[in-house]
């Protein structure tokens, strides 16, 4: 691998043990890939907080846990700096920014999470606590190299913004944030960004949930290996919420990390442009029936009482919160139902400013920040036998937990109806 003088100096330890270790790991990562050189990273999101998988390291010291799990070293290397040239935000943490009791967490765990997040902040990470870093201005532009721990943001950044990112991982996002480099490989190389699979979408797509289901339907047809589909169809009234829903669903149901949309994404003005002269490895059609078939296994069929309704995965933007408040205004959530709305702190502040928070709270709901149900995990979810989500990702992830609840997935309005009536009814299932 060819390293620049600056990169070699980092590898030689001239910027300290932390930077050296990050560079050693990045170089090893690049060697496994077969990369010839590295590229500069200018935006990153990193996974901070006392996440449950870190508990395998039985230590009170954040830096020991960080070193063993994120740097993969058995010594203790303090995480005390990041690359000054890189704009780094934190992804969701294991707790809400402010409260722990409503999430059934202990004060001890909440303080541990705060300690973990604070140490990352001191190292140069801006504490945001969102899976949706673009809500706070983190938007890489075309050709900009970035890393993220969020699969949906990888695919959104590659596809919609034309920025460059691979799905690498939580550890690698920290390494890149520290040394400012990633292997120049995969989607960081222009020649690799062409389409491989052609998907004709015949199903009419209107609401965000229908775009999510397109992601799932494609996941049922695409290979398990990395591929780059291009979708073509008569798409109407496409907006960012629909696209973030689609890319998030596609990211968790496939190994795709880039998906062109003809006429919408910048590297796919036409089908031919998307393929760039490369062969079409496979081609198929997604019909309305495919969308409906994708939905059926995602939503339980049992009717009955509802205990939890969760809105906002990915985190809601202010307009989605406004729509929630508009719908709930003057209504009351059924007693015994916990209505949770998830976003990022600055959006919550805007919701406060605009009176949306008050309306949602008067209806009996509450806005939370910095995390989400599945990230909080079983501690929260075990007490709710019947749960409704307006997100394919959230509902699918909850299904993977070793719990036995009813899990329902529908659009935001039907989900709110379930919160208001306290019942899951057949009519709340999504249908065209």
């Amino acid at each position: 691998m060819r390293l620049t003088t600056e990169e070699q100096a980092m590898l030689d330890g001239e910027k300290g043990r932390l930077v050296q270790t990050a560079m050693e790991n990045i170089v090893r990562y690049g060697q496994v890939l077969g990369a010839q050189e590295l590229c500069k990273i200018t935006k990153a999101t990193v996974f901070c907080g006392a996440h449950h998988y870190l508990e395998v390291c039985d230590s009170e010291d954040f830096h020991e846990v960080f070193t063993r799990l994120n740097l993969a070293r058995d010594e203790v290397i303090p995480f005390d700096r990041t690359s000054p040239e890189c704009y780094i935000q934190s992804c969701v943490a294991a707790c809400d920014q402010f409260v722990y009791e409503p999430l059934n967490q202990t004060e001890e765990f909440f303080k541990k999470n705060q300690y973990y997040v604070e140490e990352a902040r001191k190292a140069g990470v801006t504490v945001v606590g969102s899976c949706s870093p673009y809500l706070t201005g983190w938007i890489p532009v075309r050709g900009e190299h970035f890393v993220t721990t969020e699969s949906g943001v990888t695919i959104l950044g590659n596809s919609l913004w034309g920025a460059c990112c691979n799905s690498d991982g939580i550890e690698a996002a920290f390494w890149s944030s520290i040394c400012g480099r990633t292997p120049k490989w995969g989607y960081h190389v222009q020649e690799n960004r062409h389409a491989t699979h052609l998907v004709h979408v015949e199903a009419p797509l209107d609401s965000p949930i229908e775009w999510e289901l397109l992601g799932k339907a494609m996941g049922m047809r695409l290979p398990v290996t990395v591929c780059t589909p291009v979708i073509v169809g008569d798409f109407k009234e496409v907006d960012f919420v629909k696209l973030k829903s689609f890319f998030t669903a596609l990211a968790i149901t496939t190994n795709c990390r880039m998906c062109h949309i003809v006429g919408i994404t910048p590297e796919a003005g036409t089908v031919e442009m998307a393929f760039g002269g490369h062969e079409v490895e496979d081609e198929f059609v997604i019909t309305q029936e495919d969308i409906e078939n994708a939905y059926q296994p995602l939503c339980d069929k049992t009717e009955g009482k509802v205990d939890l309704v969760s809105l906002g995965c990915p985190h809601y933007d202010i307009h989605q919160i406004k729509k929630t408040a508009d719908y709930l205004k003057g209504k009351k959530v059924h007693p015994g139902v916990n209505l949770m709305v998830w976003t990022v702190y600055p959006v919550k502040a805007m919701a406060d400013l605009n009176g949306y928070t008050r309306i949602i709270e008067e209806a009996g709901g509450r806005i939370y920040t910095s995390t989400c149900p599945v990230t909080v995990g079983e501690t929260l979810l075990k007490d709710y036998p019947s749960q409704v989500y307006d997100s394919l990702k959230q509902s699918g992830s909850v299904r993977s937990l070793p719990l036995e609840q009813n899990v329902y997935y529908t659009d935001m309005y039907r989900a709110m109806e379930a919160a208001l009536t306290g019942q899951w009814k057949e009519e709340y299932r999504w249908k065209k």
């Binding site: 496994v32 996974f47 395998v56 799990l69 993969a72 993220t148 990888t154 991982g169 939580i170």
Partner: protein, 143 residues
Amino acid sequence: MEKIILRGRGVLPGIVEGTALVCPKGITGWGGIDPKTGEIQDWDNPNKGRTIQNTILVMPGSKGSNGWSCYFGAARAAGCAPKGWLFSAIDSSAAVASAVMQIPTIVDFDKDEDPCSRIENGDYVRMDGTTGVVEVTKSSQRQ
């Protein structure tokens, strides 16, 4: 006993041998294994309940979210790593996981030497992470 030789690209050095655990559809990283035991938890994985610890783990590549590597890294920290692993074709998540695990790693096999189809659970595997040579002794009693 029948022996076969497969050749891939050796990317992390070391010679190890052990019993193969083959997951032709991969393992979901985030939530797919219990890092404290190395046990596979994927609900639709035929190897559900088996541990990756001390095996030669064979997979096509990574699967699922960007959080793939960290569960394997956590298994490493808990002392539950495989002895070595083979990937049919490398991808970025699997490469990060390899850099974290620091175990002998061989990747990028020709299609007719795909370890996911040529190796089965219970086969005895000796792998050289420098040369990329994989020696497989077929098991007469497959698990």
